[in-house]
């Protein structure tokens, strides 16, 4: 490879046919005399504009149709010509530099065009400055070189996994969940498609790990009113069930009366609402909401049947993932469940009963109320709730969240509108995203952020050794497998 041109943070390289490079690969341009190197990433591969190539191709075109013949080429010039015709132009972005074998951000110098050594760079050089206390294998490059990272780069961070349907988002998410649990971290997964419930089972095994706890709202995910408390319950009524202010004030009075009487249960709450002296319309409003909550089965009067999050996290101190399976549930119940859960988690984190927690939210727009978005990236983050959003609809996540995200994993998008949205990522230029993301094959993503040492990387996500559900189901499975 040879340097052709540099403009701003872009560098153009000439690449000859025997050199195997692809979009996303890192190139190290070492200037031997200055003892430093530029780190650049290929974002596009084009044909080099060789003088006279049009004439050559036209001539070949004529030969292919009505003209046949042979060349007597004793010097074998045609082999050189083939090399020229297949010479590629690599468009690369300068991502950083190396000085005395250490990473540097000083890219304000030019390597020698004649002397510089241009070669493909190992990804390990890029992530070697990450901590390796909680190292894990994220995936591999196209050349099967392992891309290692460290979980500390997820700690305290906001993450987004997005991409078109069927490209491998959930697979990566599951990889992160299982890795976090393996390293002792508490994780909560808001699972709208039931894709995570079998994460505890190794492939081909019927045994299930106790570290993955699937919870179904109303079945094994139930709460007692005492544990929930008024503010959380009121939050559900107001935010999930749209209870008006007047009615919520009446409800608060009813709740406090029952608390004073030490008889806060679902049955007594229902009776109290029915007998409370208030305007009929308020009573009707409260009654209707209460019936919805009661029918959901998510509340119980039996303390033993109620889930104590505090206890769950205490007993699984070496790591646990609570998978809230919301598959086939009505949207109201999903909202109720998420309100309850986040509220409880916030309490736990505020009281320092939990150091921190990783929340994985699949298609969060289906159940997360608007005010939570800002809350999650500001207040809750400081409390220790570190969220990963997973979605195939990038426009359902606000632009502000893209700009504040610490790690973004972009799977394939071909739609211009989607590409435009994801190109707002603060840590990477839009041109790179558009050039690389558009052509990513399934199971390969462009990772940007702390997890990859802030060097955007194209990663073949590591396969999982656990059973997974949620992969897109096909009718013509046999044909697809054959293909």
């Amino acid at each position: 490879m040879k340097i052709l041109k540099k403009e701003g943070d872009s560098i153009q390289l000439l690449c000859f046919p025997d050199e195997d490079v692809e979009k996303g690969d890192y190139i190290l341009i070492t200037d031997g005399i200055k003892d430093r190197a530029l780190i650049s990433q290929i974002i596009d591969v084009q044909y080099a504009n060789i003088p006279g190539i049009l004439e050559d191709l036209l001539r070949d075109g004529i030969s292919e149709s009505s003209l046949t013949g042979e060349d007597v080429d004793p010097f074998r010039v045609s082999s050189q010509l083939e090399v020229l015709k297949d010479t590629r132009l690599l468009i690369a972005k300068i991502r950083g530099a190396m000085q005395n074998n250490r990473m540097s951000r000083d890219v304000s110098w030019l390597p020698s065009r004649i002397r510089a050594r241009v070669e493909v760079m190992s990804p390990n050089l890029l992530t070697r400055e990450l901590s390796n206390k909680h190292a894990f294998e994220l995936g591999s490059t196209r050349r099967s070189a392992v891309i290692a990272s460290d979980l500390s780069a997820l700690d305290g961070r906001l993450n987004i996994i997005t991409g078109r349907k069927g490209t491998g988002k959930s697979h990566l998410s599951r990889l992160l969940v299982t890795t976090l649990v393996k390293h002792g971290a508490p994780v909560v997964v808001l699972d709208v498609n039931g894709e995570y419930v079998n994460l505890g089972r190794a492939t081909g095994s019927r045994e299930s790990s106790t570290k993955i706890v699937p919870l179904i709202p109303g079945v094994n995910l139930r709460f007692s009113l005492n544990e929930i408390g008024l503010s959380t319950f009121l939050g559900i009524l107001v935010h999930a069930l749209s209870l008006p202010d007047n009615s919520s004030r009446v409800f608060a009075r009813i709740w406090r009366q029952l608390e004073l009487q030490n008889s806060l249960r679902m049955d007594t709450l229902g009776t109290a609402i029915a007998n409370f002296d208030c305007h009929e319309s308020i009573k009707d409003a409260l009654q209707a909401r209460f019936n919805t909550l009661d029918d959901s089965g998510i509340f119980t009067n039996d303390p033993k049947a109620a889930l104590s999050l505090d206890e769950v996290f205490r007993t699984h101190g070496s790591g646990v993932a609570l998978v809230i399976n919301m598959k086939n549930q009505p949207s109201t119940l999903r909202r109720i469940t998420v309100e309850l859960f986040i509220s409880k988690l916030t309490d736990l984190l505020s009281s320092h009963n939990l150091k921190g927690l990783f929340l994985f939210a699949e298609e969060a727009h289906l159940y997360l109320r608007e005010t939570y978005w800002d809350d999650i990236i500001t207040r809750m983050r400081h409390l220790g709730l570190f969220t990963t959003f997973i979605t195939n609809q990038p426009d359902t996540i606000e632009g502000g969240i893209y700009r504040q995200a610490d790690n973004i994993f972009l799977f394939n998008f071909s739609n211009e509108h989607d590409l435009e949205i994801v190109s707002k990522v603060a840590k990477l230029d839009g041109e790179t995203i558009r050039m690389i993301v558009r052509e990513l094959p399934p199971q390969r993503c462009l990772a940007v952020g702390d997890l990859v040492g802030n060097f955007p990387m194209v990663i073949n996500v590591r396969p999982l050794e656990v059973q997974t559900l949620g992969a897109t189901r096909y009718f013509f499975q046999d044909q697809i497998a054959a293909a």
Partner: protein, 365 residues
């Protein structure tokens, strides 16, 4: 006849007559000349031109360059014809050369030739080269006679030498095709005028003789004739005619030239080969009757595609033999890789002195 040349003739004969085409071999003398001349320059610097294809100027100009006196042309002199389909094979030969850059003593050059044969509706070709060689004052003159190039009188320069090497390959190709083909129409680029050091009469006479014996009709078509009438090309004589036609201008031209050294071995016509096509100077073997010449042209235009008045077979031969800019790059890189020649951009003196205020082409680069 040596065993080598017999093999070549057999190959070309097979190329012409058999399906598929079989490429002929180049004479060993050419290859030896190329290798020796370039091997002697191993490790030398080659000063490359900024845009080498700019020098791709027509090199096959007529030997004559003169403004002629010409009377009026009577309409009766114009021979109109209707194309007639024929089974006669059509073959065309063309060559081209290029200077790839300057060596310390001379130039690095390349040569390429192409033979195209029209077989039914299909064109078959054999392309020779590129052949890379060096030329200069200290060139291997002992190799020149082996190429059929006569010794020099006076000072030679690279342009002259290059033209002679090119003519040598072109004659070899023409002769090989003429010997292999029978009752064919053989198209060559240029004219049948001989008698210059670059183009000795004996060789041309020999070529025409071989063609006659094998009943081939040699047709030379010139894109750039130097024969002019009051500053206008002689082809202007047929500009007003739209139908295919020929005009015999031979007598009028010949009487204005002395017999020596230039020899018009061809009968000179101006011809328009297609309706609304361009007119060209066309030379036929002088010993062939006008009737046979006209019959040949009718058969050519009825057999080959004659788009814009120029036979497709010759057009393809021209396209195949020319050098593109990427050919030049490939040959230069080969010279570096195989012969250790070091490439350096030629310093544009005008540009160095005057920068953007120069007036030559090099100021563009």
């Amino acid at each position: 006849m040596s065993h080598q040349s017999t093999t070549i003739q057999q190959s070309i004969s097979e190329f012409v007559r058999q399906e598929p085409a079989i490429a002929g071999e180049l004479p060993e003398r050419f290859l030896r000349f190329c290798h020796l001349s370039i091997e002697s320059k191993r490790g030398e610097f080659l000063y490359t031109e900024p845009n080498v294809t700019d020098q791709l100027l027509p090199t096959n100009c007529d030997a004559e360059s003169s403004s002629l006196e010409f009377g009026t042309v009577d309409d009766n002199e114009i021979i109109k014809f209707i194309p007639t389909p024929s089974s006669r094979p059509v073959a065309a030969i063309d060559t081209s050369t290029i200077r790839l850059g300057e060596l310390e003593d001379g130039s690095l050059c390349a040569l390429r030739g192409a033979v195209v044969v029209l077989d039914g509706k299909h064109y078959k070709y054999t392309r020779y080269g590129p052949l890379m060689f060096s030329l200069g004052n200290s060139l291997l003159t002992d190799q020149f006679p082996s190429l059929g190039i006569t010794s020099f009188n006076g000072v030679s320069n690279v342009e002259i030498l290059l033209r002679r090497v090119r003519n040598s390959l072109e004659r070899w190709l023409q002769l090989s095709v003429t010997r292999s083909l029978a009752n064919g129409l053989i198209l060559i680029d240029g004219s049948l005028t001989a008698g210059t050091p670059d183009n000795p009469s004996a060789e041309m006479e020999n070529l025409l003789g071989v063609a006659r014996r094998s009943e081939n009709l040699m047709i030379a078509i010139s894109k750039n004739t130097q024969l002019r009438i009051q500053d206008k090309s002689i082809t202007a004589l047929l500009e007003v005619n739209s139908e295919p036609c020929l005009l015999d201008v031979d007598k009028r031209i010949r009487r204005q030239f002395t017999e020596f050294p230039i020899q018009f071995l061809g009968r000179i016509f101006v011809g328009k080969l297609a309706r609304s096509g361009f007119p060209f100077r066309i030379d036929f073997d002088r010993r062939i009757s006008t009737e046979d010449c006209v019959a040949g042209i009718k058969q050519l235009t009825g057999t080959d595609i004659v788009d814009q008045g120029y036979p497709e077979t010759l057009r393809v031969a021209h396209i195949l033999s020319t050098f593109t800019a990427s050919d030049v790059l490939a040959i230069q890189s080969l010279a570096r890789a195989r012969f250790g020649i070091q490439l350096l951009p030629k310093i544009a003196l005008r540009r160095s002195l005057f920068g953007p205020f120069g007036t030559g082409w090099e100021t563009r680069y």
